[in-house]
């Protein structure tokens, strides 16, 4: 594969997945600035490794695995430095045009409450839920991205959903949902 050909394939297969990459990074890093850095870093890495990308490989799982590894490497480094990862105020993230009818406000509130509940999940559960429910990945793909057996994916999803249902029903009781 010559350089131009690699670029073309990268453009068709990997570049369109930017949004998925950002979404995963945003959920793992839990703030947008770090997520942006991770996506850039991941794309540079992906481009570097792309020569070894084999025909027939699932491009999304391949890229998301790189994103995940990039995020975890950064998070591990931060832990060593003992830096607190700042959590962002979710409210600023949903852009909208005002004025909004009441039902849209309700929807916005619901989205924020659900996002906050997902953010509270343990990391293993959070990434499984995000990959399954927000990215629509199959168990096999999740197992590729997170590098654990399918059985583990299954039990993480199951326990993650239990945990999330609890968090959401607690919010419902306190009228945030």
């Amino acid at each position: 594969m010559n350089d131009e050909h690699i670029r073309e394939r990268f453009e068709t297969l990997i570049l369109p997945l930017m949004n998925d990459a950002y979404n995963l990074a945003r959920w793992l890093m839990r703030n947008s600035q770090d997520a942006e850095d991770m996506v850039q870093e991941s794309y540079f890495r992906a481009f570097k490794f792309f020569g070894s990308f084999r025909e027939g490989t699932n491009a999304r799982a391949w890229l998301l695995r790189i994103v995940r590894n990039t995020c975890y490497t950064a998070l591990a480094g931060e832990e060593r430095k003992g830096r607190e990862v700042p959590l962002e105020e979710e409210a600023n993230e949903i852009q909208d045009a005002s004025p909004l009818p009441p039902v849209i406000l309700t929807r916005k509130a619901t989205i924020e409450a659900v996002r906050a509940a997902i953010a509270e999940l343990d990391t293993d559960f959070r990434e499984a839920i995000v990959l399954r429910e927000l990215e629509g990945l199959s168990y096999k793909e999740i197992s590729e991205v997170t590098e654990v057996p399918i059985g583990t994916v299954m039990s993480r999803l199951s326990r993650g959903r239990d945990q999330l249902a609890l968090l959401l029903s607690a919010r419902k009781k306190s009228d945030q949902l």
Partner: protein
């Protein structure tokens, strides 16, 4: 299958990741076990909340641009690709222009004849279904809970720019249970809510752009039936998990 086994299998079952034989065993157990059924229902409710596409974080436009310009092949190579493909450019361009113009006229013609309505419709159908599902979950189904059409109708009058017709059809099995303001198709709309046995029907309506009197069109999405018609100066959309026949009967009553 016992409940413990079913608990282990319920998520792969729910995610359609289970082999046929196991899926059948789970289904059999679910039929006999209300507790496990409840567990499945809570999974469905959860997915309803997680299904909102806005939950996903959107990549900031600046970063998108940055990555695109960094990794997209330079323009010269694009031109080279183009030239490789179409060496006879002097012939290709007028041909493409001619084809484009023909296509454009064709599209305008088809659109005039309403041929594309079914192509435009699905996104609105999906929006209608999403609104229905959302109304059934956590948020709120009713702003004005009332079985009295003389309460529901005036309630809308103060809140919308139009006065939606509200009728009760309890004697036909479709009981009016209230109304709600909703947002569909880029505007505020009236949602009139009915109940048939245990099933909820959301009836969305707003002033029609054209004053046609088209016959109803039916759709189905993920187990929901949808029916749309245009009548009395309004666009009407009914959505529910009742059978298509029941929904058609309901539409028939509304159209009288």
């Amino acid at each position: 299958m016992n409940c413990q086994e079913c608990r282990d299998y319920i998520d792969p079952y729910f995610d359609s990741e289970l082999g046929t034989a196991d899926a059948i065993r789970v289904r059999q157990h679910l039929r006999d076990c209300p507790e496990c059924r409840e567990r499945l229902q809570s999974r469905e409710a959860l997915r309803g909340l997680l299904g909102d596409p806005q939950l996903k974080y959107e990549i900031p436009g600046t970063l998108r641009e940055k990555l695109a310009s960094r990794f997209r092949p330079p323009a010269t190579s694009l031109r080279k690709r183009f030239e490789r493909k179409y060496t006879a450019r002097w012939l290709f361009i007028p041909m493409a222009l001619a084809a484009g113009i023909t296509l454009l006229f064709g599209l305008v013609f088809l659109n005039k004849n309403g041929r594309f309505e079914h192509l435009n419709a699905p996104s609105l159908v999906d929006e209608v279904v999403a609104d229905h599902v959302r109304s059934m979950l956590a948020t709120h189904l009713l702003d004005v809970p009332s079985t009295d059409q003389h309460t529901v109708k005036p309630w809308f009058d103060g809140k919308l720019k139009f006065a939606p017709p509200v009728q009760d059809f309890a004697d036909h099995g479709f009981r009016l249970i209230g109304g709600r303001l909703d947002y569909l198709n880029g505007q505020e709309v009236a949602a009139v809510v009915y109940q048939k046995n245990k099933h909820i029907i959301n009836l969305f309506l707003w002033p029609a752009e054209s004053n046609g009197n088209g016959s109803p069109r039916s759709f189905s999405r993920n187990g929901y039936n949808i029916i749309h018609w245009n009548h009395d100066g309004f666009d009407w959309w009914a959505v529910s998990d009742v059978s298509a026949a029941d929904l058609a009967a309901f539409a028939g009553l509304q159209r009288q």
